[in-house]
Amino acid sequence: MQDLSFITSWIDSSFRSIMPGWLSTTVECLLIGVGLLLVYALLALFYIYYERKLCAAFQCRLGPNRVGPWGLLQSFADMFKMLIKEIIHLDHIDRFLFALAPYLVIIASMLAFAVLPWGNGLQIIDFNIGIFFLIAVSSIGVLGILLAGWSSNNKFTLIGSLRSGAQMVSYELSIGLSVITMVCLAGTMSVGGIVEEQADLWFIFKGHIPAIIAFVIYMIAGTAETNRGPFDLPEAESELTAGYHTEYSGMHFGFFYLAEYLNLFIVSGVATLLFFGGWMPLHIPGLDGFNHIMDYIPSVVWFIGKAILLSFVIIWFKWTFPRLRIDQLLSLEWKYLLPINLVNLVLMVLIIVYDLHF
């Protein structure tokens, strides 16, 4: 697979030849920012369309099909509509916290977004504790949601945000333990390092049984973390109008909407990173010809393709299972997922100690 870092190093060297070092670094940071913004917005638009089309297919409908060919421009129209809606000024809210909440939600998803392994040599933030950083920043989102619910000074939002807090906080534990299980196997926390470790075989095949259990738990917890699917009781529209973002209007609401779809991508992106090799092509030890053919597909296509396929599974959950009750939700996490996860971690350690993995 070709190393795409030649593009960025070429841009870097051509900048350095015409301007001083500090200026070129600033311009490069600006470029990264603009690139992140573009990819963020485009992926959000794509995901809104993707989910609406899939939802329609699951319910034997056609979905959006009037705006543009096959309804492709529908999400652009939605975004524009959101921009021209009035932002209503409410007089019973805590203004500062109300304005702060969308910033926190977007910042959390943007930071997690920048850690993902986009391609060979295209990784933006590569801390040596990358996966830990990712868990840390994604929990800022809970804070934004809690602030949004509290500052709105509304009963619906209060209940929604507290439910969401309890849910996201509980399921973060399962995500953390699944990640620890895979970090045991990888022996590194750096995102680039984890991808490199899977060069011969993806972790879901390498770690067989414990990796598959960890993957299933990760997908359940990830669905809960994004407030989607059967775990959407923070915004259960039939009981709480819209949950924690009831009082937000226009573009203010749009940020929560955007972050929700991007979190779906981030959760599937992290699952791709931990279990399906990040940008690493499908390699099977011993089949050199096959591996060689797989290397011709660019790494960016591998990463985004795998992430989109995994999001399909999460969207599938949403349209298949009925919503849980809060007590069922919490007992699922604390009485089932957490003990299974602890046992699974021990199993993984045993497999590594006795060298039973591939």
Partner: protein, 126 residues
């Protein structure tokens, strides 16, 4: 093969700050554009809470069911303990038997905590 840093920027903190500022810029710019092109109209009814159509009763920023906080506290305990597992998980192969033994003791305490909370009925939703 070590992947090269993007644009040769080795300072990851700088990149993280770039991503953070990008998030701030996204919210700020979108709100600014929305302010420029969105309509404005004033009506005292608009500023009220979106609840049932009748004026809201009582305070909404009030004390609420303690069950939520109980789970938050349980989470805090377990999350701090899982944070301690991370460094061991990275160095598991190098630390060997001694590391395994000491983490087993730690892990046992963690499991005991869960069992205690379970037996005390802290995991029941009442």
């Amino acid at each position: 093969m070590i992947p090269t840093a993007i644009f040769g920027i080795a300072n990851n903190g700088l990149l993280a700050i770039t991503a953070l500022l990008t998030g701030v810029a996204l919210v700020f710019l979108a709100l600014w554009i929305a302010k420029l092109i969105s309509p404005r109209s004033f009506n005292p009814q608009k500023g009220e809470a979106y609840e049932c159509g009748i004026p809201t009763r009582g305070e909404s920023m009030s004390q609420f069911k303690v069950g939520y906080y109980l789970f938050a506290i349980l989470f805090l305990m377990f999350d701090v303990e899982t944070v301690f597992l991370f460094p061991w998980a990275v160095r598991m192969r190098e630390l060997g038997a001694a590391g395994l033994l000491s983490i087993a003791v730690f892990f046992g305490i963690l499991v005991l905590g869960l069992v205690y909370a379970w037996r005390k009925g802290a995991l029941e939703w009442k």
